[in-house]
């Protein structure tokens, strides 16, 4: 039995998002800032006529980011409002991972991140962290 995840790279972490939650994936998009919005909300994007908010995933995970660097890819997650874009450093492949490789969140993960990760998959060369997108959005929009 396998599960499918869309994978992304964020601040050195390798994250997976359930494929069913992903609407689409895009390269860099022109963004408009939202002054006075919470720090993790980077701005607004025009997605074919829909206005979608862009969330800085790295910040939301509690990782600091060098102010000069900018995440360049958007992964659009479905949501009731029509979609939210998570800003990531790079997009990986869609992976089929075996269910047996699943393990619960390691105890030693920093607490800000622990809440946002649903679990991990032990792949032979690395660890895939499953992102809880709902919680991530809640945290970002505070």
């Amino acid at each position: 039995m396998t599960r499918q995840y869309a994978t992304v790279y964020v601040g050195g972490l390798f994250l997976g998002i359930e494929v069913a939650k992903v609407q689409e994936v895009m390269r860099h998009q022109e963004m408009t800032d939202v002054p006075l919005a919470p720090a993790a909300i980077t701005g607004l994007i025009n997605l074919r006529g829909q206005i979608v908010i862009a969330v800085d995933t790295q910040r939301s995970l509690g990782l600091t980011r060098d102010a000069a660097s900018r995440p360049s890819c958007n992964i659009i997650i479905r949501s009731e409002g029509g979609g939210v874009s998570l800003l990531v450093d790079d997009i990986g492949d869609v992976l089929d991972v075996p269910v047996e490789a699943f393990a619960p969140v390691p105890e030693n993960m920093p607490v800000e991140r622990k809440d946002l990760i649903e679990g991990v998959y032990n792949l032979h060369d690395r660890l895939l962290l499953v992102l809880d997108t709902k919680r991530l959005l809640q945290r970002a929009c505070g």
Binding site: T32, P35, I51, V52, V84, C141
Partner: protein
């Protein structure tokens, strides 16, 4: 879900007709002779009966059949519409609704055969209940006519379907032709789709206009035509979705009638503005809240007839519904002339439910107490009746209204009634807006500067003003921190958009100022922006719920170049700039120079004495409130005193003191009310007439007072209030009683207090003097520097904002001086928020205290001076 297309049609049509039926029947009770009404009602029931036969819905048919017969009698004037009959028919209508709902959900009529109802209908029809039938003997010749006509009516009813079929054909034919002429039913989803498409069309048109503005004249001509057509199309489509609010109000007469009957009250409902149109989505959203509010009025608001008569009101209560357009909003008001909201009961309920603590409740003004009903979990019904329902409260109403971007407010008139006002913005999809831009930094470190575009809805726009050079100096003034512009004889408060949005911290002036003059509810404000572009038609797209908390934006739009721009919520921006509907400006006439002073959140004790109906003193200075019998007042050295808690308490009779007259004896009758101010070892008592309230509020002084004993007057909780000058009053009471120090010291320490605001300075001074310090005051940087150089100062407390100059400059002066270097300096920050005591240049205060935290300030001074132990402490050693 029913699949059959015809049945669906039947359901839709019947529901539509039934929607009107409730209201019509209630109206019919008021005007029983209205032939058109009866005919309408009859036709509705008749149609349902006929069609139900066609589909084989027997139960439905049976009920409507007898109901129709009764209505027929009414129509032929063989019968009078009594309340009992009306109720019976309404009951049938309810039963019909239930069956229709069952058909919609399951395809079948449901199990209830409504036998009891049908029997009662039959009985009523045959006159056996004897309630509605005109008694044969009473009316003379009429009964003969009646009897004669009854026979043919019965005949009609017994005759088989063919006649009915014919009737149905005729009647519904007539009905159909009426309707078919003027209206057509459209699926709401299709309408939504059309709306979206038109929105996209507008965007495309905008882009096209931008692209073709210059060159090809032929193309530009065509695009102009496209422009016009699009505008008209857009207008038309928006109109399609509008419905009159009467559609929702229709149901309410019935609701009121039923509730009134249940409670044994008499209630009338009036509607004004039922034709006011709203977008369909808004209508859906306010349906339930409106019903709930009306129910509340019936259930809790309007009193029983006997009680109303006692109160001098008419026995029938009145509920008035009003709807009207105003300035880009739709206002809906629901007023009743009932008992209003009892602030005390509301407070008690809030306390019982654990929503607020007693201390917090005690400080609430009447208006704030009324607002408590919006708290979740609140309901004043002692018993939860079916009527207002369980779990539905005003908090749910508020949430639902706010979801569509509206506001709810309650205006209470105790014993006379109350009004609920709902304001809903008409943020329909497409509005004209002015595009503006500000320069500002984008990142936190401020290294990237970019021009950011925003849109201001034209509905709020009054005019555009451009000021350059010379004019800037003369027309713009800084009134204690708020920039104002003299515009057409009034003072217009200014807000700098880039500062309001936190895009820049710099206050550097520019040569040219672009001011957008806006109307915000009942006030005007000038928004300063860097660039003004053109006015465009923009498509408003709502911001996702993630950004709902930001109340400075109303939505966003996509501009001609494909990029997103935020649409400003003018009221929200005004609030952020500190220029709300009740701003710091307290002057009556706008043309006068308003003396705007910093505000300070304070807890104040309000009381009255003599002809001064409303006086205030900071609660922090008050030790106790006491009541004594007047006979206890004694005299010592000619001054009134009291034996109080082992001390001798000197008294000041406030009313006399403020009048400037001799300190009077406090009268021999009854008791006296004393507010005791204390510094720990010595106290003074002010004799007042009444304690009014304790409020927490910002103080905005309008003018200093010329009366000895008063600091000045300000607006507190919406009313003009005088502030007492405790020092002056105490001096009036006799010797300087404030010389006892809190701690034994060789000599009292002198603190230099530097604070430009008179009110704030006086208050701090009073407080610190009572704590035992000697205070030297200064209102400006220069004066303070001068006093410092003259020596004798042990500590400095300075405001950070000194106008001109700031506390840092004073600090610099102090640290730069040999003699003064070691002085402890405390900075005063107005308002909440921590500031770091260190400046980037390496200067630092010993402490930064909040001006509102007087206790903390006293402590800080005490610590710093004490630590010195007679010697001055080197700066920065802490």
């Amino acid at each position: 879900m029913v699949q059959d297309e015809d049945v669906r049609e039947f359901l839709i049509e019947s529901n539509e007709n039934l929607a009107n039926l409730d209201r019509q029947l209630v109206e019919l009770e008021e005007r029983p002779e209205d032939a058109t009404l009866i005919a309408d009602v009859f036709r509705t029931v008749h149609t349902i009966k006929g069609t139900s036969g066609f589909f084989g819905f027997d139960k439905l048919g049976a009920i409507t059949h007898v109901a129709e017969n009764i209505l027929s009698q009414l129509r032929e004037r063989q019968r009078e519409l009594t309340p009992a009959t009306a109720s019976l028919i309404l009951e049938s209508v309810d039963a019909v609704k239930v069956i229709l709902a069952n058909i919609e959900a399951t395809g079948g009529e449901g199990d209830n055969g409504y036998f009891d109802l049908r029997q009662r209908l039959e009985a009523a029809y045959r006159g056996e209940a004897a309630a509605g039938q005109i008694p044969p003997e009473a009316a003379g010749p009429v009964p003969v006519v009646v009897k004669a006509e009854v026979a043919p009516a019965e005949q009609k009813a017994i005759e088989p379907k063919p006649t009915e079929g014919k009737l149905k054909g005729e009647e519904s034919g007539a009905a159909a032709s009426n309707l078919a002429d003027s209206t057509i039913r459209v699926d709401v989803q299709l309408l939504d789709k059309l709306m979206n498409l038109v929105g996209e069309l507008v965007l495309a048109r905008n882009q096209l206009i931008q692209d073709t503005s210059s060159e090809n004249s032929h193309l530009s001509g065509t695009s102009q035509r496209l422009n016009l057509i699009t505008s008209e199309l857009q207008e038309g489509v928006m109109k399609m979705r509008m419905q009159p609010i009467g559609v929702v109000w229709n149901k309410l007469p019935r609701v009121v009638r039923d509730l009134a009957a249940e409670c044994g009250k008499k209630i009338q409902i009036e509607m004004d503005g039922a034709e006011t149109e709203l977008d369909k989505t808004i209508i859906e959203a306010i349906k339930d809240p409106l019903t709930h509010i009306v129910r509340n009025s019936c259930d809790h608001g309007i009193e029983q007839p006997e009680l109303r008569i006692e109160r001098g009101k008419s026995p029938a209560g009145r509920i008035l519904l009003r709807a009207y357009h105003e300035g880009g909003h739709v206002n809906i008001e629901i007023s009743d002339d009932g008992g209003g909201i009892d602030a005390e009961r509301v407070k008690a309920k809030a306390r019982d439910k654990g929503l607020l603590r007693s201390e917090q409740l005690a400080q609430l003004s009447e208006r704030e107490a009324t607002q408590l009903i919006f708290l979740p979990g609140f309901s004043t019904a002692e018993k939860v009746t079916n009527i207002s329902g369980r779990g539905v409260g005003m908090d749910v109403v508020k949430t639902n209204i706010e979801k569509i971007g509206g506001t709810v407010d309650v205006f209470n008139n105790p014993s006379a009634g109350m009004t609920v006002r709902i304001k809903i913005p008409l943020t329909l999809a497409i509005i004209p807006g002015l595009v503006v831009a500000v320069e500002g930094s984008v990142t936190e470190t401020g290294d990237i500067s970019r021009r950011q575009r925003f849109v201001i809805p034209q509905a709020n726009l009054l005019e555009l003003v451009r000021i350059e050079g010379e004019e800037k100096l003369t027309q713009i003034q800084d009134v204690h921190g708020t920039a104002v512009y003299q515009h057409r004889g009034r003072l217009l408060p200014l807000a700098y958009l880039n500062r309001v949005l936190g895009l820049t911290k710099s206050t550097e002036a520019r040569d040219v100022l672009n001011i957008v003059v806006l109307q915000v509810e009942d006030r005007q404000l000038g928004l300063v922006v860097d660039h003004i572009s053109d006015t465009q038609e923009i498509v408003v797209k709502p911001l996702g719920k993630e950004l709902k908390g930001l109340n400075c934006y109303v939505g966003a739009t996509i501009m001609g170049d494909g990029r997103v721009a935020l649409i400003l919520d003018v009221a929200g921006v005004a609030r952020l700039a500190g220029i709300g509907p009740r701003s710091g400006e307290g002057a009556k006439g706008d043309s006068e120079q308003a003396e705007v002073v910093q505000s300070l959140m304070q807890r104040l004790l309000l009381f009255s004495a003599g002809r001064f109906r409303r006086l205030a003193a900071p609660l922090a200075l008050v030790s106790r409130l006491e009541e004594f019998p007047a006979s206890r007042v004694e005299r010592a050295s000619g001054r009134p005193v009291l034996h109080y808690r082992g001390q001798i308490l000197p008294l000041v009779h406030l009313a006399s003191a403020l009048n400037g007259s001799e300190i009077d004896t406090c009268g021999e009758e009854g008791s006296i009310l004393v507010v005791v101010f204390s510094n720990g070892s010595r106290s003074v008592g002010l004799v007042v007439d009444r304690i009014l309230d304790i409020v927490e509020g910002a103080i905005t002084v309008t003018r200093p007072s010329t009366t000895a004993g008063l600091l000045g007057s300000a607006v507190v909780a919406d009313t003009l209030t005088d502030f007492i000058d405790l020092n002056a009053l105490v001096r009036l009471a006799g010797d300087d009683w404030i010389d006892a120090a809190a701690k034994p010291r060789a000599k009292a320490s002198t603190v230099l207090l530097v604070e430009p605001s008179l009110v704030v300075r006086e208050m701090l001074r009073s407080y610190l003097e009572m704590a035992g310090y000697r205070i030297s005051e200064s209102a400006s940087l220069q004066d303070a520097a001068g006093k410092l150089l003259r020596g004798g100062i042990d500590a400095v407390v300075t405001a950070l904002d000194l106008q001109p100059g700031n506390g840092w400059e004073l600090l610099e002066t102090i640290r730069g001086n040999e003699r003064l270097r070691g002085l402890p300096v405390i900075g005063l920050a107005g308002g909440a928020g921590h500031r770091s005591p260190s400046h980037s240049e390496g200067l630092s205060f010993e402490r930064i205290q909040s001006a509102a935290d007087r206790e903390g300030l006293r402590q800080a001074i005490g610590d710093l001076i004490c630590n010195a132990d007679g010697e001055l402490m080197p700066a920065g050693a802490k």
